[in-house]
C-alpha cells in the first residue's frame, strides 16, 4: 500500500483512512490476506438436555465482531439454536425482536451492520448435518472458530477436516469468570513476518565487513586532523571500523572477542573523544562506546532457523513445495557459502551529517539488494531444477531476506484434551503440582465438557450439572487419567485447586458471562488475525484466562 500512495495532494482513499490505525500494524499485505479470508464459526451444537438450550455462543459472536470490524472477507455462522430470553441478557448482537428466531441468522444480520465491506451468511442447522449435505463446506473457509463444548463427534469431524485442508482451528470455552482456548495449526505453519523487536534484528557486520563497508571504514584515516565539527559527526559505525582496524594491528589481526578485550576496546574508543567541546564530549563517540558490547558479536544462526534448515520440507523440495520452502532452501544455500544470512540492510539513525549518513545507508542498502539478487538467483535455479510452473515473486524473496533471522515454523498440535496424547497429560500433570499455575482451570473445563457430553448423549440426567457427587466422580476420573503411572503425583493441595476451579465454573452452571466472553473474544480474534495475516507469532497452543485473579497463562499442550 505504501508504494501505491498517490503522490498528489489527494491523500489516502477512504478505505485506507478507515483502516489507517490497523494498516500501521500489518500493512497492505496483511490487510489483503484478511480481506481474502472467510471465517467459519460453529457457535453451538444443540441443547444440553431439557433444561439448557446449550452453548450461548457469546464468545464466538464477540470474536467475529473483532474480525468484521477490521474487514475480514466474510464469515459463516452455524448455530441451530433459536434466540431465547437469556440470550438477550448476554449477547449484544441480538435485540428484543429476535426472540424465537434463528440465532445464527439474527447475529449474522447484526454483525454485518458493523462493516459493509464484509459478507456474512448463516445456517440454522447442526454442523454435522451441513457437512453431510455439502462435503466441501469446511474447505471453503480459511479459519474455523468453535464455541465449545460441542459433541465429541462434531469436534473430531471439524478438526480432522480442517487439518486435512490445512485450515487452522480455534476452539474456545468461556464460563463464568474464566475461559480457555486452543489453536490447532497445520502440522507445519511457517511465518516470515514475525515482527521481532527491531533491536534484535540489527546486523551491522562490523566484525566482518564486506568490501565496500571495509573501504568506507578505511577512508577514516586521520581523525586527529579533522576539525571539531567533522570529528563530532563521523558516524559511529565508521568510528568503530576505524578503531577495530587499529586494534587488529596490535592484536595479530584478531578482533576483540571476550568481555575483557571488549572492555579494553571500549576504552580505546572512549579515549578518542574530544572533551574540550562546548558539550564536554561528543555524541558520536558516546554512540560508538554504547554499541561496543551489543554490536561486536560474531554472527550466529538462531536455533529456530537452524531447525528450519534441517527440516525435511527444506531439504527435500518437491515440485509442489510451498514457496516458503523454496526461499528457505535458497537462503540455506546462501548461508552455507560463508555462514551468513542475507543482510537486512537497515541502518539505525546516528549522529552524522546528512550526506555521510545517506552514503553509509546506501552501502548497506546496496549490499542488501545484492544479497537479495543472489537469493533470487538461487531460487530460480531451484525452480528450474524442480520444473516449477510458477515463479516465486521477487517481492516475496525480498521480504523473506529482510526477516530471515527471525522466520519461524510452528508445528501445529491438535486441540488438546485430557485423554489426548501422553505429552499433553504429562504437561498437565507437571503444572498441576505448581501452586502458581492455573492449569487446574483447564482440567475443570474438560470435566465440565464430559458432564455435558453425558447429558447430551442421554447418559446422565439434566441435573448432573449441579450434583456434587457427579462432579466428584469426574474429578477423580480426571486425576486418574493424568496419574495413570503414579497417583501419588497429585497431592491434596493440587486436588483442592482442581475442586476450586470446578466450583468457579459451577457458579453459572456452565453458562457464560458477557464480559468474560468479550475479553476472550478479543484474545481469540487477536490470534485469528495473526494466523490469517501470517504476521506476528500466534499462540502455541493453549491459553487459560482467569478473570477471578485477572491473569492468564500459556501452555503447549
Amino acid at each position: 500500500m505504501a508504494d501505491a500512495f498517490p503522490q498528489a495532494l489527494a491523500g489516502p482513499s477512504s478505505k485506507e483512512r478507515k483502516y489507517d490505525r490497523q494498516l500501521r500494524l500489518w500493512a497492505a499485505s496483511g490487510q489483503q490476506s484478511l480481506e481474502e479470508s472467510r471465517v467459519l464459526l460453529v457457535n453451538s451444537d444443540g441443547p444440553w438436555g431439557n433444561q439448557s438450550s446449550g452453548v450461548t455462543g457469546v464468545v464466538g459472536v464477540e470474536t467475529l465482531k473483532n474480525l468484521v470490524l477490521p474487514g475480514v472477507g466474510g464469515f459463516t455462522i452455524v448455530d441451530p439454536a433459536v434466540v431465547t430470553e437469556p440470550d438477550l441478557g448476554l449477547n449484544f448482537f441480538l435485540e428484543e425482536n429476535c426472540l424465537g428466531k434463528s440465532r445464527a441468522g439474527e447475529t449474522c444480520r447484526l454483525l454485518r451492520e458493523l462493516n459493509p465491506d464484509v459478507e456474512g451468511s448463516s445456517h440454522a442447522k447442526p454442523i454435522a448435518e451441513i457437512v453431510k449435505e455439502d462435503p466441501d463446506f469446511i474447505s471453503r473457509h480459511q479459519l474455523v472458530l468453535i464455541s465449545g463444548p460441542i459433541q465429541r463427534s462434531s469436534l473430531d469431524m471439524l478438526c480432522t477436516a480442517a487439518k486435512d485442508n490445512g485450515i487452522p482451528v480455534l476452539y474456545t470455552r468461556s464460563v463464568g469468570f474464566t475461559s480457555t482456548f486452543s489453536l490447532q495449526l497445520p502440522d507445519v505453519f511457517p511465518i516470515v513476518e514475525t515482527h521481532p523487536d527491531p533491536e534484535t534484528t540489527q546486523d551491522l557486520r562490523l566484525l566482518n565487513p564486506w568490501m565496500e563497508l571495509d573501504m568506507a571504514g578505511a577512508r577514516v584515516t586521520n581523525l586527529e586532523s579533522l576539525d571539531d565539527h567533522e570529528h563530532g559527526h563521523v558516524p559511529y559505525i565508521l568510528l568503530l571500523l576505524h578503531y577495530l582496524h587499529k586494534w587488529k594491528q596490535s592484536h595479530n589481526g584478531a578482533v576483540p572477542s571476550n568481555y575483557k578485550e571488549k572492555t579494553e576496546f571500549r576504552e580505546m574508543v572512549r579515549s578518542g573523544a574530544r572533551t574540550n567541546t562546548p558539550e564536554g564530549g561528543e555524541e558520536n563517540f558516546d554512540e560508538a562506546v554504547a554499541a561496543v558490547m551489543k554490536s561486536l558479536n560474531p554472527f550466529s544462526l538462531r536455533s529456530s532457523l537452524r531447525e528450519i534448515f534441517e527440516m525435511d520440507e527444506c531439504k527435500n523440495l518437491r515440485q509442489d513445495s510451498a514457496e516458503f520452502w523454496i526461499i528457505a532452501a535458497a537462503i540455506h544455500e546462501f548461508y552455507k557459502k560463508d555462514n551468513l544470512l542475507p543482510l537486512p540492510g537497515s541502518l539505525p539513525d546516528m549522529k552524522a551529517q546528512s550526506a555521510d549518513y545517506i552514503a553509509l545507508q546506501n552501502i548497506y542498502k546496496a549490499k542488501a539488494r545484492k544479497d537479495i539478487e543472489e537469493v533470487v538467483g538461487l531460487v530460480r535455479s531451484i525452480e528450474a531444477r524442480l520444473a516449477r510452473p510458477v515463479k516465486v515473486s521477487e517481492k516475496d524473496v525480498e521480504i523473506f531476506c529482510k526477516n530471515a533471522s527471525h522466520v519461524k515454523v510452528i508445528h501445529g498440535r491438535n486441540i488438546p484434551r485430557l485423554d489426548g496424547d501422553a505429552r499433553t497429560t504429562k504437561i498437565i500433570k507437571n503444572n498441576l503440582t505448581n501452586s502458581d499455575s492455573i492449569i487446574s482451570l483447564f482440567l475443570a473445563f474438560q470435566i465440565l465438557d464430559d458432564i455435558v457430553t453425558d447429558i447430551q448423549q442421554g447418559n446422565a440426567p439434566d441435573e448432573s450439572l449441579d450434583n456434587d457427587a457427579v462432579w466428584n466422580t469426574h474429578i477423580d476420573r480426571a486425576i486418574g487419567v493424568i496419574t495413570s503411572d503414579n497417583p501419588a503425583d497429585i497431592d491434596e493441595e493440587a486436588r483442592e485447586r482442581i475442586v476450586q476451579a470446578t466450583q468457579e465454573l459451577r457458579r453459572t452452571e456452565g453458562g457464560e458471562l458477557h464480559n468474560t466472553s468479550a475479553l476472550t473474544g478479543g484474545l481469540v480474534a487477536q490470534e485469528a488475525l495473526k494466523v490469517i495475516t501470517r504476521q506476528y507469532v500466534p499462540l502455541d497452543n493453549t491459553c487459560i484466562f482467569d478473570g477471578v485473579r485477572s491473569r492468564s497463562e500459556m501452555f503447549k499442550l
Binding site: D228, H229, H233, P278, E279
Partner: protein, 184 residues
C-alpha cells in the same frame, strides 16, 4: 466496597490525615505545585532576571539573560516560558522573543537545547533548563545549529562571527537580515 472502606479507615488513623467538610474548592494542580517548588529552588545569578506578567500565574513567565562575559556580553535576551498542565511529564516550552543572531536559535525564536526536547526527563527542573540557556550564550555551539549561517560563521571565522554578533545586537543587518536591538 465495605472491605475497601475498613482498610481506608485503618490507614486514616495511622496517617492522621483529615478531609474538610462541605463543598470543596479547586485544588492546586500537580504542575503548579511542581513549578512553585522549582522556582523556589532556582539559583539565579546576577545575569538573570525573571518577570511574571501575572504573578498569580506562575506557569507563564519571561526569563531575561544578560551575559557578563563572552561574545554576547552587554546584551539582554528575553525568553518566554510556557509550562503546561502536563508538566513535568512534558518539558517547558521556551522561545526567544527577539530576533537574534545565534547558531542555536533560529529566526522564529526556536531554541535548540537537548533538555528542552529529546533529553527532557521529569526529574529535571527549571533550574537545569535555565543553566542550559545561560550556557548557550557563553558557548554557542556551532556543531549542531538551528541557524546554519551563524554556525558556519562561527566555525570558519570566529572573528567575523564576533563582529556579526556585535552588529546584530546593535540592531544591525547581517547577511541581509535585520536583527532586533538587544543591547542593554
Amino acid at each position: 466496597m465495605l472491605k475497601i472502606w475498613s482498610m481506608k479507615q485503618k490507614q486514616q488513623q495511622a496517617e492522621n490525615a483529615e478531609g474538610a467538610d462541605g463543598k470543596k474548592k479547586k485544588k492546586v494542580t500537580a504542575a503548579q505545585l511542581r513549578v512553585q517548588r522549582d522556582l523556589q529552588e532556582l539559583t539565579l545569578g546576577s545575569t538573570m532576571k525573571m518577570t511574571f506578567p501575572n504573578p498569580d500565574d506562575i506557569l507563564n513567565f519571561t526569563l531575561t539573560i544578560e551575559p557578563d562575559e563572552g561574545m554576547y556580553k552587554g546584551g539582554a535576551f528575553a525568553f518566554s516560558f510556557t509550562v503546561n498542565q502536563n508538566f513535568p511529564h512534558d518539558p517547558p516550552k521556551v522561545k526567544c522573543t527577539q530576533k537574534i543572531y545565534h547558531p542555536n536559535i533560529d529566526m522564529e525564536g526556536n531554541v535548540c537545547l537537548n533538555i528542552l526536547r529529546e533529553d527532557w526527563k521529569p526529574v529535571l527542573n527549571l533550574n537545569a533548563v535555565i543553566v542550559g540557556m545561560q550556557f548557550l550564550f557563553l558557548e554557542p555551539n556551532a556543531s549542531d545549529p538551528l541557524n546554519k549561517e551563524a554556525a558556519d560563521d562561527l566555525r570558519t571565522n570566529r572573528d567575523a562571527f564576533k563582529r556579526n554578533v556585535r552588529t546584530s545586537m546593535a540592531g544591525g543587518t547581517v547577511r541581509g537580515v535585520q536583527f532586533d536591538k538587544v543591547l542593554r
